[in-house]
């Protein structure tokens, strides 16, 4: 049984890494992309998709009780067909 909070901590760490890389990418794009609508539009689309995914994930996780854990062995063996 792995507590969900562990998955959440891992998610936050990887998300932090994502933000660092995404920040560098956006910075490079806006610094060197010259003043052109495509530079701004592509960055806005990227930021919008990122925002939608993160807000959606947080919205979903807000409704989940993180006190419980995930029993992987039970998932793979008991009464269900394995996922893969």
């Amino acid at each position: 049984m792995i507590p969900l909070i562990y998955f959440l901590i891992l998610w936050v760490i990887v998300l932090g890494l994502f933000f660092i890389l995404a920040g560098f990418s956006v910075l490079q794009m806006l610094r060197f992309g010259l003043a052109h609508p495509v530079t701004e539009i592509s960055t806005a689309v990227f930021a919008l998709i990122v925002a939608v995914v993160i807000v959606g994930t947080i919205g979903y996780l807000a409704g989940v009780d993180l006190k419980y854990g995930l029993d992987i062995s039970a998932l793979l063996n008991v009464g269900q067909t394995p996922l893969f």
Partner: protein
Amino acid sequence: MFHVNKLPGALPDEKPVGLYRRHPITILALIISFIIVIVLPFAAYLFILILHPTYYLNQQLMAVFVMFGGLFFLFVIMFIYQNFLDYWLDMWIVTNRRIMNIEQNGLFSRTTSELRLYRVQDVTAKVDGFVRTMLDFGMVFVQTAGEKEYFTFEDVHHPNEIAKKILELAEIDRKEHLDEAIEAIESTEIEHHNAIKEKTARGLEP
């Protein structure tokens, strides 16, 4: 058109003439992968719904799916954005005074080189292959006095027109900056002769 102040080391009386990038067809694979990535979460949702609908009843498992599925999606989107950045930041800028080649290699590597127009001696446009011929894009090679290396515009749209334009601008620039052009040619010749002398001394060149 972009503003000349945005150019690194803008010269006095410099006016932008053209900004060229690779033909958009060269990022077709990127556009297709973007569409696939957008469709992927919905396809995965349907896949699990059809094959393993009971997984949606397990709230903990779904929470983990949402967290890491979302992360995977974010990293793929960022990968696509960085590839687009690589395409978008590669550019060739032609002004009435010089040609600039700006090349972005990955996220943290950027090369900027420039060439004064009066140094241009030969411009070659090359369109080869079915797709390039149909869509009229290809290479433009710019060669300067005394240098063996080419300055290359890669997969640009209308390469013949670009080559013609560069030659015209080079001709005008040579007339306007005759003294600088003569100086440059002389210094190139001196450098070239010195290089030959050194090579001859070392027995590398007859």
